[in-house]
Symmetry: C2
């Protein structure tokens, strides 16, 4: 038997993840080669500037600024540069040239996954993106393959470690959001510009990918209703705790009788729900499926080493297909379910109000909710101090649109001094 | 383009799992066929007695007592009969005939997985066994594929729902083991003869499979040190709670510098460990990997519907390979690490003693531990009642063999009235 020819792996990008992937391929490749069934070797690493300072473990002669030439000589192209271009063009070039591709690029997959999948399908090559959602946690492959015989009804994901860390610190130490964000920045959990995390954009890209995989339907980033945590206060977090909840930023993908939807928003999660115990910068994805019932996948969602685990797993999968023949599963979009408008979501709400301490206040509020068809599940009112009391209402499931109208009407009541918060309840 | 020819699926066995798989294939096969890319149809269902009473949803004319003839006409053979024979012979026959095989048979895979994998490899067909470990939870595929680029160091699994339910009831309601087992039997969580669950044999088969997958090394059932929960008392569970732990039956697979080992035993798990929150009959597998760090996979580990999810996922995977070409990963045993003897495990221990309430007692016990090279991490002693006190020692990591010798020596001390319990601490 002849020795199989080496598989040439091209890395595009050499940031925190790329560096870790390169190190493993360079210095720990015996195991990987044994698992693939053929030697793996790095064809090169494309970077913007070969002279930029970087980890000395990366040999200078592997670096190149000519990404296209590198792509053209690779069997497996691993895109870790992020952003839409030139990542997209380079991946399409790789696919057209017959290379398998691995990407960790959530924005690209959420924005334009279909064109990549179609190209890969036409060329008969693998495309893998395990690292694009929830870092080290195997979730893309379980959804695409392990659960391919089941019908998923809902996915609730804590898929942004930065915001989970921030909310956890707010909860543990009573911090306000800006203080907790600053701490997260100092510890390297949040970027200098934390907008993409705090406003939920990062989670929204992942929600689109999760919804597409779960429901065999194309859901794009633009379909995802997105609200970040910038409106969450220390008081919200404290009241959540008092009423038996944790505040979590959730990426939600849901299938109803009308279609599918994806959204990102802060939500109250009951303390006995498995997601409530996801602390610090950890991620977790909770999946509900018809036959399997509830499942949860938990682990580190970011960082160079953890994310490299997912990328290297994809490289091994792609490599095995090169050696053994065959390819990974194609994009599955046969269901093509209607993607519902952003305000179609139906959830439970917790509404917290400051009300005047006088008879009939609760009746007025309850009347308005009833008039709008929003029914109340639980209600509690604190003892009054200086003439006002806090009223906390939890509703049964209601449409986003009805709730908005209801809250506006409640806000107009004489006995209501202030809408303190409106938070969705999930899980 | 011509319509792809239907894939014929043969089911061997029609118990709780088989019935669910059959129902989905019969009445919900449109989705499955779309995901596979070819129509799926049931070739037949082999049973011991076609006239036995069963779910009326299963058409009588699909049933056959001639399993061999059924196997010979199938593209995918799904073995859900359990036991070693005739399951093994039928699967080998299927493989030799060029069919892909799916099995949920943990005993067979743990006992004789290698011969099945070798046959599948030689024939170039898929072999899948996701349902053999932890029911609905995707864990086999994540270990074989998603984590194939990482180095797993440890797997801690709650992989037996019956014993987790029993221990959870003991903990929540202060029940003794026999009462909790009886309850579990009444609720259908435990079988009439609960030996395989209670004594850990079921978990041991899963430990062998997990260790084999995690360490790319063949670990068989006979290599697994196995201790069930029959020695766990209500008092043990209560003391665990008092000292900050839960008692869980764990399937453990571990890689050390000397080799790999697998074992099953009850263990104290700190209450803040993710496994401690796994309640009722749920399963969870906690994985530690070099790059990924800690991961956890959580869900239902048994039952017809949940297990059918894993089986159907495997059927779709096997079907996709039939349609698209290629095959699933082979058995990976290249590492062939030494499988360590059963008493080589190194763990921490909690030892609970009844000691005479007199000066010098603690010093004597501590002295014996020191003489045996076992160092103490924490110690606490309760106030004495009727002349004796309870002493709880937690040790640093020690070898199983040293600990056994130590406990024997401690038992001989004059100040020690009784060894109340010795429990390992994990996680």
């Amino acid at each position: 038997m002849t020795e199989p020819r080496p598989l040439r792996v091209a890395l595009l990008g050499c940031g925190v993840v790329g560096t870790q992937v390169a190190k493993t391929l360079l210095y720990d490749q015996e195991d990987l080669s044994a698992r693939v069934g053929a030697p793996l070797e790095i064809a090169g690493i494309a970077v913007r500037n070969v002279d930029a300072p970087r980890d000395i473990a990366i040999p200078r002669d592997l670096l190149t600024e000519d990404a296209e030439a590198l792509v053209d000589q690779a069997d497996v192209v691993v895109e870790l540069m992020g952003g839409l271009e030139p990542a997209r063009s380079l991946l399409l070039r790789a696919i057209d040239g017959g290379a398998a591709v691995v990407t960790a690029n959530k924005a690209l997959l959420a924005d334009d996954g279909p064109s990549l999948y179609e190209a890969a399908d036409a060329a008969g090559v693998d495309i893998h993106g395990e690292a694009a959602v929830a870092g080290a946690i195997p979730i893309v492959r379980p959804l695409r393959e392990s659960l391919a015989g089941d019908d998923i009804t809902r996915v609730l994901g804590i898929v942004n470690g930065t915001t989970n860390y921030v909310l956890d610190q707010m909860s543990s130490h009573g911090l306000e959001l800006d203080v907790a964000v600053k701490q997260a920045q100092e510890l390297g959990y949040a970027e200098a510009d934390p907008t993409a995390d705090v406003e939920g954009y990062d989670a929204a890209a992942k929600a689109a990918i999760l919804a597409s995989l779960a429901f065999h339907t194309r859901v794009r980033m633009k379909d995802v209703a997105c609200e970040g945590i910038s409106g969450v206060t220390a008081e919200d977090v404290e009241w959540a705790d008092r009423t038996g909840y944790c505040v979590k930023l959730l990426a939600i993908a849901e299938r109803t009788s009308e279609g599918v939807s994806a959204r990102v928003h802060p939500a109250l999660v009951p303390k006995d729900h498995p997601l409530a115990n996801v602390r610090g910068a950890f991620n977790a994805v909770f999946v509900e499926a018809d036959a399997a019932g509830p499942l949860m996948f938990y682990g580190q969602g970011a960082g160079g080493r953890p994310t490299s685990s997912a990328v290297l797993g994809d490289i091994v999968s792609a490599g095995r297909h090169r050696v053994l023949g065959g390819k990974g599963p194609q994009e599955s979009t046969y269901a093509a379910l209607p993607v519902l408008p952003q305000d179609a979501a139906v959830t439970r709400y917790q509404v917290r109000l400051e009300v005047a301490d006088r008879p009939g206040g609760l009746a007025e509020v309850a009347g308005v909710l009833g008039d709008h068809g929003v029914s109340i599940e639980t209600v509690s009112q604190t003892a009054a101090t200086s003439g006002s009391a806090t009223l906390v209402l939890t509703t049964h499931s209601a449409r986003e649109a009805s709730l908005a109208a209801t809250v506006a009407a409640v806000d107009g009541l004489e006995s209501v001094r202030r809408i303190m918060s409106v938070l969705r309840v999930e899980g």
